[in-house]
């Protein structure tokens, strides 16, 4: 009995740390960042840098002003900055990025208690504030690769707004599916290169940072609904999956720990809900893109999903019966 030590829980510790997980996410986002610089030019890197800088600065200032221990060391603000930048068009004025970062870090994250307490994904919160505030600047899409020719930013339509006019045949103005995969299309900085995002997603799954259930259910639901809506048009479905921010959202933003359910079935409900809302917005609403709205709506529903999918602790059934007997 000498070796028995009594100590409070937790007894099993993991070597995982917040900063380790966030570093993995940053590594997973690097391929998409490189791809975006190739596609949209160095301004993509500049915007990403500004967003990261602002997010870290706001996080630092909040800690200073509120006299709390600063949390910039866990890199979560860096991830928020990268994700917010990935959700912006490359032509966005820099001061708007600062406004978006302020909302993401101060309002969405710190007002609700900081890391792990935010009720929606900070990057998506920031993006939506910018989208409703600066709608024209947020939907001005630069044509891919033109910066290499030295031409001043020509604007283009995103594949999604072209797909909006789908009437059984695909418009000839759509980029080829190969171009969609490697990202030669109009769109936000980080969402265009599906291949780089998938590589990052696979890395996160391999490192066990995220579980594959949310991305698979999210994208799968969108695929099924699009197949039904287009009466079995596989090409249309493929365009829908590769366009917009679906892959970025499904792998990197819907999987945010504090705003997604814990249990397996909770994750399934969450992801299917995201998929349904995304599809409904894309097919029937005036907005071309619905990924960010779908994730923010399901984020808000997460506490309720948790409540209905809460696993029964061992022995709870008995306790309930006892309580009933007492009441009777």
């Amino acid at each position: 009995m000498k070796n028995l030590t009594v100590s409070p829980s937790p007894h099993v510790r993991s070597s995982e740390t917040v900063s380790g997980i966030m570093l993995d996410v940053i590594i997973a986002l690097v391929p998409a960042l490189i791809a975006s610089v190739v596609i949209f030019g160095f301004r993509a890197a500049l915007i990403t840098a500004v967003c990261i800088g602002c997010c870290v600065l706001f996080e630092f200032l909040w800690g200073k002003i509120m006299k709390k221990e600063t949390t910039i060391g866990d890199f979560s603000a860096v991830v928020t900055g990268i994700l917010l930048a990935f959700n912006l068009p490359v032509s966005i004025p820099l001061w708007m990025c600062v406004v978006g970062c302020f909302f993401a870090i101060i309002v969405v994250k710190q007002f609700f208690g900081g890391i792990g307490q935010n009720f929606v994904n900070p990057a998506i919160g920031g993006r939506i504030v910018m989208l409703v505030s600066f709608s024209s600047a947020m939907t001005r899409w630069t044509e891919p690769l033109v910066w290499q020719k030295g031409v001043d930013a020509a604007t283009t339509a995103t594949p999604l707004s072209v797909l909006k006019g789908y009437d059984g045949t695909l418009s000839s103005s759509l980029p080829s599916l190969w171009h969609m995969l490697i990202g030669v299309r109009g769109g936000c900085i980080g969402e265009v290169c599906a291949l780089a995002l998938l590589a990052g997603g696979v890395y996160l799954i391999a490192r066990k940072v995220i579980k594959p259930v949310i991305p698979l259910c999210f994208i799968g639901t969108v695929a099924v609904i699009m197949l039904i809506a287009s009466k079995g048009d596989l090409e249309f479905t493929a365009y829908q999956i590769l366009s917009g921010g679906l892959i970025l959202g499904a792998f990197f933003m819907a999987t945010d720990y504090s705003t997604s359910p814990i249990t397996f079935w909770g994750k399934v409900i969450f992801a299917v809900g995201c998929g349904i809302i995304t599809s409904v917005i894309r097919l029937y609403a005036n907005l071309p893109e619905g990924v960010s709205y779908s994730i923010i709506i399901m984020n808000i529903l997460v506490p309720h999903i948790e409540a209905i999918t809460r696993p029964k602790p061992f022995g709870e059934e008995k306790e309930k019966k006892n309580k009933k007997e007492e009441a009777a």
């Binding site: 004025p93 001061w95 406004v99 309002v107 504030v129 409703v132 505030s133 600066f134 709608s135 600047a137």
Partner: protein, 258 residues
């Protein structure tokens, strides 16, 4: 309320401005606060209309406080308030028609504004006519000030203007008052600096945001001076808990049980 007569009239007036500001401290009348503060002009119009109704209904309810039976007091108050709202709405329609269009349904909805019913219940039904009138005026001015504060923040940040459309109100004093000056427009200056207004602030979401921030600030100031915070979790935290009949009844039934 024996000590009511000892309190000075000045205190009754000023408590509505800061200490018991209806919007930021008592958290009353939030619906018009969020809805009409998209511009300062609307905020001023709404504030004045509500103040007139508040003062008049406080006077009449206070004068009739001994005649109105306790059991039907709420319907009686509503009838009195609704009469004044109807009068105010007719006056607005006749003299400042543009304000009537801008405020829309929120002008007749002053009938169910919590501030007016709240002051009738908490103050006018227990105090003399003069004190009630001063209380109504103080609360009304406090309401208008809070609306103007919110309206200023939302209009400047969200639309890049200040006092835009003020001629709609100035028409009361005749055509072309102040040489037809219709408020400041900062948009051209903003554009030259490469900036633009943050539209969110004039949308409903921005209204909630500004409201929340202002209540937080008011709480912070109240905390500094040792006063209770305005909270929405449970009646006992409400600054009006002392005069709330619902709480009093609950406490009575609790005592009866014990």
């Amino acid at each position: 309320m024996a000590d009511a007569k000892k309190r000075s009239l000045g205190k009754e007036f000023t408590k509505g401005l800061v200490k018991e500001n209806p919007v930021l401290r008592l958290v009353l009348g939030t619906c018009p606060t969020l809805a009409v503060t998209t511009s300062v002009t609307n905020a001023i119009g709404m504030g004045i209309a509500a103040t007139i109704v508040l003062v008049c209904s406080n006077i009449v309810i206070s004068a009739l406080r001994k005649l109105i039976p306790d059991k039907v007091r709420i319907p009686a108050y509503i009838v009195i308030i609704a009469s004044f709202v109807t009068i105010v709405q007719m006056l607005v329609k006749a003299f400042v028609p543009a304000l009537n269009t801008a405020l829309g349904a929120f002008l007749p909805l002053i009938v169910v504004n919590c501030i007016i019913l709240g002051r009738a219940e908490a103050f006018a039904s227990k105090n003399t006519v003069l004190y009630s009138a001063v209380d109504g005026l103080g609360m009304g001015v406090g309401f208008t000030a809070a609306l103007c504060l919110m309206g200023t923040i939302r209009e400047v940040l969200g639309a890049g203007t200040f006092l835009n459309g003020i001629q709609d109100l100035l028409i009361l004093f005749g055509d072309n008052v102040l040489n037809g000056w219709n408020g400041f427009d900062l948009n051209s200056g903003l554009e030259a600096a490469g900036l633009q207004p943050i539209t969110l602030f004039i949308l409903p979401a921005g209204g909630f945001f500004v409201f929340g921030i202002l209540i937080a600030l008011a709480n912070k100031i109240a905390e500094g001076s040792g006063k209770p915070k305005a909270q929405l979790n449970g009646c006992e935290h409400c600054p009006m808990a002392g005069s709330c009949t619902k709480l009093a009844q609950e406490n009575k039934s609790k005592e009866a049980e014990a």
